[in-house]
Symmetry: D2
Subunit: 284 residues, 4 copies
């Protein structure tokens, strides 16, 4: 929980000497106080990634002015970059089906102030969770999945209408059409209930049970048009044994899904995740 | 480290009421003192599995007499069973290539008395580790892999000549021919350097690096003729991040390979692993 | 989630040969089908512990008749024992203060059917969580802590009035008086936010931060009159690093507190925890 | 395994704006290529810590010239700092008693090239491990502990004679006198077989067993004159259960001791550990 306003600068550019010096020189020149700084070079791609958190009150200008002044330097280095402002909370639209463990977890983190976001609405293909969501004062939209094309258009419309920044599939159990995946590329986050790339697709706990693995896992990833194959943000595993039934796996799995999704989402919301090809850099 | 001699009785049979009562009744009738008892029913297969450790000195007869007397009861229940004697140490033949981290780990556990086995010989397709193995007083056999068929026949011959109970592929890096897998079914243990079923086959750390997973793992399993697809005995994972190169993954991996192989091998050696189809029951 | 009614028999008695045979013989004689069986001998105390789950429909009589018939055998072996019926759910009274992460977690597990208990009421020394609890249809009792003696008498009275089986201190933040600890010995479960025995008492996360430990933990234990010193049911740890502030520790801690409390509580509710002196046997 | 020569610059100084800019500016001015960069502000102490790895071949001068030129800047900021050269391997003197699991682990990492250090000698109060150490071509010094004062003077003398940089207590089982702790402050690393601050002093596994904890741990720390109370470098834990005897704890413990010591030592050797009061910053 940051107590003071911060700007977060994230940068990706071709690797070369002097990038850190140029950027930190720019910040220092204006008296900027760096609270957190992270760097990474992706060797194969020859690309450099960095993230800086700067105390807003240490700078003599606002975010827009920062962007204007930083722009020439960014151009010199061929940077893809953005500056975000901790006072402007990201807007997460959450999609659920009937299972509510991830939703419950996210809403608790939101109402306790741990997850610093806006949740403009929850969308579901079932009515089951309406009362729980509305108790939080959050609008709940039911979308009928009978006509899938219409349903996904309605979802896209709701997302835009609510000015969503990111879409969270909190066990939504529906495969998004490529149209949506491409349109909101890098903005849709899914929790898959297996340790990818193992057990892609449906019923991963049954698959894990059949294979006789000794640990099961969960994966939080960006959604792309290839099913369960997008850039991985976070994963974890938990030990099981021969005595565990599929129901037990499902139960253990729920706990790990919650943890992995909430961690991955936190990284995403705090601009800690930078994508490079089909991989992520996560500045924890 | 068991301080007293024990008999370990392992049983697999069709599930029905009264099995525990019959077996524990038989043991109690002869004054047998059960030190450890484990049970499991595999629901899909409708099979019952059990393992009992009995203090040898609590019984009025030896292992052979136990087997004779227990035989009728076993037949009544259609049991597949065996009784092993802690005084007769299992004989492990270890196969290695050039990498010695698993070998070093196993030999240390053996010479410290933690791993209660005989190691009649080590077999390798390289000469590199001869001096280290021979320092332990263990014979070292070099096998030339130029002619694979001859090589594997030589390996089988050495294994039998040394009266091996089990063969341990401690990063042997060679694919065993089906002939060997079938001939010594349930007796060959491999350590694979990935969290199976992810990243089967060659260079799993490179595969993991390419896919951008956030944990890597290792798997100890029985070898069958399908590559890396045999019953899994033990697995574990370790966290990595975007800063880790393939070399780092290899380094983290070595530690987890050692741990997973030594744990799996311990379970196997202590008759804690029972196989059911392509899955294992591990009575830890 | 057990789909069928089960009786759970838990036993503790002096160790000797023949206990398993006697108990499983008794069950088998009546056609009882054992679903799960666990045994343990506590060497120092020379005591034997066992737990059996039996399918209720496999027995020709009900729980009371089971108790009557089993009684003589139990007496012969000097057993402390009990038989519980999965159809009679345990009644948990939950005590909270202002922090609601454990409460939220438990109520979610309860309403999803994962935690098979009754929750007759929630008691708190603050009004903050009333609306959330009452949304679940659970009575919420505010108890003023100004007069501590009166407050704890009121808590005891509420607990008995609601026929509570166990009391769960879900971050209650008040030290229970010895009177209460003794009166409900073995029935009060606490979650302490450190890896005991490290960091007993107040502000354990601050203590951990000051000491510079590299992992923090949580402990679920039975409450006794010595602060944070009762029998431990479950513990876990999570990695932190130098970059984490006390606030970060608190945040990581919440997740581990939830996990550890819910696991410990599950073991307790399913009669998997047997106490031996100041230690627990947990038949997972 | 760094393939190219690197200089590692570590800095600690009072926190203020502009430090990163000044340092990275200095490096950039000379064309220095930063391979890895880490920063941390210790809030309570108001101190800033940083570590930079620079490719040696990217600079137009050697380490001594770097030190000369960097010195004025360092003085301006009141820095405590050092520059190390990856071509000059640190010299570790290892002290052992009879238990050899940590020694075996370290020597294996050393001979495989994973641990990039010199090991000029091993010192022990027993003769047991001489043959194993000498097989590696490393001198082995026996020191008689009858006369403790003389023994520790001999150890100090051997350490200096062999130009040791750091002393590693790899389960040495002897308490070092304050004289030694102070004389080689920050240069002596111990592995303690508990999760400190729990179970300080002798027989921690017995203490853990008595307390009935559900996980045990190990701690790698710098040695100070207060027993087991120095700055912690690395820790880890492993799950145990009621079925585990003290011997089992010792066995599990060995594995975790090895892992924790080797990780901590690696951080130390690569100049990743900076000390702040009684805490460490570890730039992994």
């Amino acid at each position: 929980m940051p107590s003071t306003r911060r700007y977060t600068l994230t940068i990706s550019c071709p690797d070369r000497a002097g990038i850190i010096a140029a950027v930190s020189g720019f910040i220092a020149k204006h008296g900027g106080f760096i609270v957190e700084a992270s760097y990474h070079t992706e060797q194969d791609a020859q690309r450099f990634f960095m993230r800086q958190e700067i105390r807003a009150d240490s700078l003599p200008f606002d975010a827009d002015e920062f962007r204007r002044r930083f722009s020439p330097l960014a151009q010199d280095f061929g940077m893809a970059w953005q500056l975000s402002d901790s006072d402007l909370k990201k807007r997460l639209v959450i999609l659920v089906s009937k299972q509510d463990h991830c939703l419950d977890d996210l809403l608790h983190r939101w109402r306790s102030g741990e997850l610093q976001v806006e949740i403009p609405c929850v969308i579901s293909n079932h009515e089951d969770l309406r009362s729980f969501v509305e108790w939080h004062g959050i609008p709940y939209h039911f979308v009928d999945m009978q006509d899938k094309t219409a349903a996904f258009e309605r979802i896209a419309a709701l997302f835009e209408q609510h000015q969503g920044d990111s879409m969270v599939l909190a066990r939504f159990m529906q495969i998004l059409p490529p149209m949506l995946c491409q349109r909101f590329s890098g903005r849709i986050i899914n929790i898959h209930h297996s340790f990818l790339p193992s057990f892609v697709g449906a019923k991963p706990y049954h698959q894990a049970y059949q294979r006789g693995v000794k640990l099961i896992g969960a994966t939080c990833h960006y959604v792309t048009d290839e099913l369960d194959a997008g850039p991985i943000i976070e994963q974890d595993t938990v030990r099981i044994d021969h005595g565990d039934t599929v129901d037990d796996l499902v139960r253990y799995g729920r706990d790990i899904e919650k943890t992995v999704l909430s961690r991955g989402l936190r990284y995403h919301v705090e601009d800690r995740v930078l994508v490079c090809g089909n991989k992520t850099i996560v500045f924890r």
